[in-house]
Symmetry: C2
Subunit: 338 residues, 2 copies
């Protein structure tokens, strides 16, 4: 039994922050202390943790002393603002933002894929982007059998990826549309209710959006396979909190479908969900609240002798963010890598 | 000016049927007579056409005499049931169902792509599946410049593809979920509101569903290019009436993005919609009610030297069904091919 540690959650009031709280409780994380940090607008509020009301503290320079681990989920600029204070205070930061993911000396970790990468951290470990994690756990079991050469992926991303307020906005928009009113878009760039749109992260020089380039670059880093060729189309859909992805894989030689199913069925963090008779496959409503990424519709690609198609759904807030961060924290504690 | 013709709509009360009526009116189709046919449960009802109330007649064996053209949109079994009566009566059937699409002697026509195929009809011309039409008009301009070798497509299909009642069901389900109630699924196999699922058409022997195989087989037939390799993942999303598709194309040699944009911008039936500065691209709410398929996000595939990625949205009921059928009818009238 590892010694309990002192944890702070930075961004405790957000969609991911509240899920972190829930997971620390339900997974009996060995806590010596838990500090909830947020911006001044949450000052004075409390959040419940294991029957106790914990106060939310405003983050400042002294907030990180007496912390062993900081779970940061307050966005990239907040992570950048406090990273030095956190590491100088001697704490390890597991960062859910994109701020440090592609920094070469920062490990980018999915515990089912590359746990060893966490060992050599220098105070910061990055949690990958949601779409990357969900695809990664699903296809890594195949990559271990035969290296993936190319990925063509299209995503169906829920509102939760844009935060708790975006989830509320989709509900408001739906109510307005059903009442014959014009929906308002304040958090999201366009109405999402009964609509969808290409992911609105900034467009990069190669005309992919940042969200798409995260899938490309982060997958390569986590798999330690810079040679994988990846193209992604990321799309926001009117679903609340689980993401889906249609994934096309190419290998150097044919990959038997049965072998793929067996590998996925026994891999950690994924669950094979397919009933071909009943036409039942992974759906966001079934993935919601689940730890595992649901994978199904695994089939031989009829357009490529060495291709496979598959379909997955995973809870964006859980395995796509908070759960993966807690798993990294558990890994650090268990292996003594703090 | 071609002579007016006598038209019947078979399945006049459905989502596509009512759109056919609207299009015949708004496009000033040269009508000598218009007969509305439906099943007995619509007997006695009327539908408005150019300010007049037209009675709905129950379809029977004598319904097709005195018709030059029948626009059929009542599903495959109804089309099969009446095809012989229609052609024996001397009328030409433009069939919106999948019943005859892959019959070798039945032309499968998208007027922007293969109008000449309609000339040699033997009484039946098939209207392709919605997803096939929308993708076809978008990518055919590129195929004409350099033959497409492979397509990897993922669809985002609206409720309208499952009919008018499915559209209503999604609204009901949304209301129920927003009110904290459990949504009911009667038309659709699973709740679609705030959810999505792989297209529930029957699974074929190769583990693709029928909807996916329509995209594969129909595209090849319309393009007269059996050699194109195609894989599709079809997904139903909680959008009302416009479909979206993420399309990855492979060519034999690199396809310059600027050339692709120019070709699509000047092609009939498509509209280039992309504002990279504003991150504004095709969306279902913008495609709804439009004749053109909106195409954007055209970019060099970074995973393949000869690849292009693009994104499209099109009105499923309009160009995906009713408009294409009316365009076929116009083609037959204009060229004297009835």
């Amino acid at each position: 039994m590892p010694s309990p540690i002192r944890v702070a959650i930075l961004g405790a009031t957000g969609a991911v922050g509240t899920e972190l709280l829930e997971l620390l409780a339900s997974r009996n994380f060995p806590l010596a202390d838990l500090k909830l940090l947020a911006s001044p607008r949450s000052a004075g509020k409390t959040l419940e943790f294991q029957g106790e009301k914990l106060p939310i503290q405003v983050v400042d320079g002294s907030a990180f002393k007496d912390c062993d681990l900081v779970l940061a989920s307050a966005g990239g600029s907040t992570s950048k603002r406090w990273a030095e204070e956190i590491t100088k205070a001697g704490a390890v930061m597991v960062d859910n933002s994109s701020a440090f993911r592609m920094v070469p000396e920062v490990p980018l970790v999915v515990p089912e894929i590359n746990p060893e990468a966490a060992q050599n951290h220098q105070g910061i470990i990055a949690n990958p982007n949601c779409t990357t994690i969900l695809m990664g756990v699903a296809i890594y079991p195949l990559h271990q059998i035969q290296p993936i050469q190319r990925i063509v992926v299209a995503t169906y991303q829920s509102a939760s990826g844009a935060g708790a307020m975006a989830m509320e906005e989709v509900k408001h928009q739906s109510r307005d549309i059903l009442a014959g009113k014009t929906p308002q878009a304040e958090i999201l760039p366009y109405p999402l209710a009964f609509n969808l749109f290409p992911h609105n992260s900034p467009i990069t020089d190669n005309h992919y959006c940042e969200e798409e380039m995260k899938m490309v670059q982060e997958t390569r880093k986590i798999f330690a396979a810079e040679e994988i060729r990846i193209t992604a189309t990321c799309v926001r859909v009117p679903v609340l909190r689980a993401h889906s992805e249609a994934v096309n894989l190419e290998f150097a030689t044919p990959f038997p479908v049965d072998l793929a199913k067996t590998a996925i069925a026994k891999a950690p963090g994924v669950k094979l969900v397919e009933d071909w008779q009943k036409n039942y496959f992974p759906m966001p409503i079934d993935a919601t609240g689940q730890d595992d990424v649901l994978v199904g519709r695994i089939r031989q690609d009829i357009s490529h002798p060495n291709g496979l198609d598959l379909w997955l759904c995973g809870d964006q807030i859980r395995k796509g963010a908070a759960l993966n961060a807690v798993q990294i924290a558990e890994l650090l504690v268990e292996r003594g890598w703090l």
